[in-house]
Amino acid sequence: MKAVTVESLTKRFGDFTAVDNISFEIDEGEIFGLLGPNGAGKSTTISILATMADATSGKALVNGHHIAGDEDGVRKSIGIVFQDQSLDEELTAWENMDFHGRLYRIHGDTRRERTEELLELVGLDDRKDELVKTFSGGMRRRLEIARGLLHRPKVLFLDEPTLGLDPQTRNYLWEYIENLNMEFGISVIITTHYMDEADRLCDRVGIIDKGRIVALDTPENLKKSIGGDLITVKSDDYEGKLADINQPWIESIESYDGFFNIGLSGAEEHLTQIIEALAKTRITISSVSIRKPSLEDVFLYYTGKSIRDAEADSKERMRMMHFARRH
């Protein structure tokens, strides 16, 4: 059985389409990433899968339960860490865990044992009796993850789990999520707009832009799909002469902001040929560099823009969504 199956899921707010006919599957024990700029539809997708919002059309199964119809089945199967904090700050770490355990009807001793265990796991056992309002951002996140695991979910949803955390805490959380996945074998869906996060953590990544999944594969395959290497040429070639250097071994050419990314395999061997070809076109070249593509390049390739530009776009989208929701 698949951990999650999504078929043609669509969510509209008035005229605005937040999630546009997306389909994907997640295997058991897999870490799956939804990568895209803010406002691309990641959180909306998560809300729908977690039964917090209704889909306009399409269907989805979580751990074999229909999201529309068997909501309680879905809710029992999932643990979720929301993008925004959802702790009660006036309660202690222990009480937050206890509240959760009682809501999920975990009985006395089991609840206490697991709470002890999980608080230790996230390194909060020595602060369990302190009020959450005294906790730092990283500690709150860890507590939320521990809480999300208390009822032993089959699928863990992490919506931007490292948003606003410092690099050290992020690293720590990544390790932590990896361990969880290995130890408990739970499937994890993680949404993020950090490329390195998706690359490091995820078995497979779906790139989502404007509500659509534009590419879906393992990070390695995604990077290979645009060529094994990237030669980046900095040039003010506005006439597109660079795009004319047609060689059979060139797999892709993308340009943005005076940079040209040439995707190919075996960049080291072809470098001289490229330099020769560039010299013939007589265009000014400021610099040339060879590197392995990152998911950032993959994103650029599939959406035609860098994630920063996409963020700017999607601010507009979010405004529209807000507007559509209110009217």
Partner: protein
């Protein structure tokens, strides 16, 4: 039952932890009792019973304490929504009705606690001890007022998005409910038009019921009070459960 208890427990914990709020919300009732009670004692004569104004006023101020605490306890949902905690409860495999009932009973319990504190202050100021039966009757009415108005608070909180409407609720809902209820004046002496208005105020029946329990006399038959207030409580719980089920994050 577990779930209702869980949510109830959280309300109680939060209430007991907010010492400054407990003390703070005792200030206003205490001052009203002292200033109005003693200030107007010499000029106000209560018809029929001829009791002191401060004795007449005390049950009204007790109901005020219960009213304010319970509505705010219901409105707590707005804060929970704003601070994200509501998501934690809504995504759990429990029914909305259970959550709503837990919140209602939790709010009602804190409201009764607050009312009891004011009652103790009233005894210190001059209210005579009404006997166990009287206390029980008053407690019963306090419970009903607490439940009804927490549920009302939840209904409102389910419909509004943020605290922007708060002042509006204060000025045009809570204060009129209190002011019209006969907590501060005997309703028998009112002009007919005004009097019929007070009869539409559900709190009137709560005030009269509590007054009957504490002083032994009331201007509305306590049985009528019981029936009207119970019906209102049930209606509010149903409205609250219905609206809360539809609430969105």
């Amino acid at each position: 039952m577990d779930v209702i208890y869980t949510i109830w427990l959280r309300s109680i914990k939060r209430y007991l932890r907010s010492r400054s709020r407990i003390v703070g919300s005792l200030g206003m009732p205490l001052f009203l009792l002292v200033f109005l009670g003693f200030g107007l004692n010499s000029v106000v004569v209560i018809p029929n019973t001829g009791e002191d104004y401060v004795v007449f006023l005390a049950p009204g101020i007790v109901s005020m304490g219960v009213l304010f605490t319970s509505i705010f306890a219901g409105l707590q949902i707005i804060w929970d929504r704003q601070f994200g905690f509501l998501k934690e409860t809504l995504v759990a495999p429990v029914s909305r009705t259970e959550i709503m009932l837990g919140q209602t009973f939790g709010g009602a319990t804190t409201a009764i606690f607050q009312g009891t504190l004011i009652l103790i202050l009233s005894f210190l100021i001059g209210l005579k001890f009404p006997g166990i039966l009287g206390l029980l009757i008053a407690a019963g009415f306090m419970i009903l007022v607490g439940i009804a108005f927490t549920a009302l608070g939840i209904s409102i909180a389910s419909r509004i998005e943020d605290m922007n409407g708060f002042q509006l609720i204060m000025s045009f809902l809570i204060f009129p409910i209190f002011g019209l209820s006969g907590a501060m004046f005997p309703i028998t002496g009112l002009p007919p038009a005004f009097r019929s208005l007070t009869m539409y105020d559900p709190l009137t029946y709560g005030v009269e019921g509590i007054r009957y329990g504490l002083t032994g006399s009331s201007q509305i038959d306590p049985l009528v009070c019981l029936v009207v207030l119970s019906a209102f409580s049930v209606a509010m719980i149903m409205a609250g459960a219905f609206l809360f089920r539809k609430t969105r994050i």
